[in-house]
């Protein structure tokens, strides 16, 4: 079983590589979108006092544990033909998968970013006030100076996106050659009994996650050392 999975990787089986590249494309794009939404949201929750702020923080923290199938169902209802966004006709496309994963991991990135930024804000607050730096400038400063810690938040988001199967299978449909990702393929091949392919994909998924984490760890360590963050 292992040898045939290994063989597919070495020979560069095109179907396998299409699945891997689609998975990476969907999850990395979703992480990028979730970062664009989640980082500023986390920063605002860290900096701004407003009524109901604590309730929002609790909700965002709770949404970190959102079940992917529930997100998938919600996005499905939004994008289905009779749904409010049905006219775009993007259900069962990679775009729908990106939307679902972005929604799934935005709370993760926002909640982790809020914690990181709040810790830094405690230190910076007076100095920035004395330098007459406004809210937008403070957010930019905190995001920049906290960038190495924030990388961890992005990684957590990417990890969650690349590992989930519930959301992408509902809104993507696991269509061969079009919306089939590593996780949906593993689920399918396992239920079909084609274990070699499932194991091969599982191993690749693990390797990719480890490689990306190793890269991020290296970047963070080197960056912190060079920038003197500690």
């Amino acid at each position: 079983m292992f040898s045939s999975a290994f063989w597919m990787l070495i020979t560069g089986d095109p179907a396998l590589y299409r699945i891997i590249s689609l998975s990476l494309y969907v999850s990395l794009t979703a992480t990028l979108i979730a970062a664009l939404a989640g980082l500023p949201l986390g920063a605002l929750l860290a900096l701004k006092e407003f009524p109901g702020r604590n309730a929002v923080i609790v909700i965002v923290n709770a949404l970190m544990g959102m079940p992917p199938v529930v997100v998938g169902l919600a996005v499905f209802l939004l994008l289905s033909r009779s749904g409010p966004l049905g006219s775009f006709g993007i259900l069962f496309t990679p775009r729908a998968m990106i939307i679902a994963q972005a929604i799934l991991i935005t709370p993760i990135i926002a909640a982790l970013a809020r914690q990181t930024i709040a810790d830094l804000w405690v230190q910076y607050r007076d100095e920035l006030a004395a330098m007459n730096v406004g809210t937008a400038g403070s957010v930019a400063t905190l995001l920049w100076d906290g960038r190495f810690s924030l990388l961890t938040a992005l990684l957590a988001g990417f990890g969650r996106a690349s590992a989930e199967v519930g959301a992408v299978i509902i809104v993507g449909g696991n269509i061969d050659g079009f919306t089939r990702t590593m996780t949906t393929a593993i689920a399918l091949e396992t239920s079909k009994g084609d274990l070699p392919l499932a194991i091969g994909l599982g191993a690749v998924l693990l390797l990719i996650v480890i490689a990306i984490n190793a890269l991020a760890w290296f970047v963070r360590r080197t960056g912190e050392r060079l920038a003197g963050a500690t």
Partner: protein, 240 residues
């Protein structure tokens, strides 16, 4: 180079500041104008830090009015603050000063030269690329001083700038402050150290339990203090 609006004089008018039920500061009127440095002295908890923070605009008084150049709520454009425990940004020494220069919109082309000048002023030439947070305590204090001067302030408020320094480092900070004051920057500093006050100040404010006990010219304060408290404080007696 100077912006048209001046932050001087800094005027406190019947200021009260409370934390919960406790009165931290309760002063009548106090005017700080251009001239030699003003030293704020007094025992711990007398309200020195609160007075400086109010003067910077970092705190809102509970009652009374603070004006900068007769304007209320003036943003801290022409003033700078050196905290007792300054926080270095997670950047290099040059990066910290560059940030302050950028905060007052110094043109990019001039920053490199100004960074070098400011680091030289505080005796940190050659420290440009050193991570600020890995400098020693005394070096960080001096870098923070350079950073506050980068804002080209008209008023510079300093909270115990020499408290955590050894005598040599304290003297070098005093020298920088004297040079800065001679360039026309109004300095207001709080200190425990009567020696610092004697060497630097043109006038002295003695705070005790949130009230101004005495405010006199330095000469008068140290030679013929008007109040019993000032005499006792200088004699090293405890003010309780």
């Amino acid at each position: 180079m100077r912006a048209p609006d001046s932050d001087l004089p800094l005027q406190f008018d019947r200021i009260e500041y409370r934390a919960g039920n406790r009165s931290i500061l309760d002063i009548g009127s106090l005017t700080i104008s251009n001239g030699a440095p003003t030293a704020v002295i007094g025992p711990n908890g007398a309200g020195k830090t609160t007075l400086l923070r109010l003067g910077m605009g970092l705190l809102e008084p509970g009652a009374g009015r603070i004006t900068w150049g007769r304007r209320q709520h003036a943003a801290p454009v022409r003033r700078a603050f050196l905290f007792q425990r300054p926080v270095m940004l997670m950047r290099s020494a040059a990066g910290n000063i560059d940030y302050a220069l950028a905060s007052v919109k110094t043109p990019r082309g001039e920053r490199k030269r100004k960074i070098a000048e400011l680091l030289a002023l505080v005796g940190l030439s050659g420290f440009e690329d050193r991570p600020a947070r890995r400098l020693s305590g005394g070096e960080q204090q001096r870098l923070a001083l350079a950073r506050s001067l980068a804002r080209d302030p008209e008023i510079l408020l300093l909270d115990e700038p020499t408290a955590s320094l050894d005598p040599a480092a304290a003297k070098s900070v005093e020298d920088v402050l004297r040079a800065v004051a001679n360039r026309g920057v109004k300095i207001v500093l709080s200190t425990h150290d009567l020696g610092t006050a004697r060497r630097l100040a043109g006038d002295v404010i003695l705070l005790h339990r949130g009230r101004i006990v005495e405010h006199s010219a330095s000469e008068t304060f140290f030679k013929q203090p008007k109040t019993e408290e000032a005499r006792r404080f200088q004699a090293g007696d405890l003010l309780i």
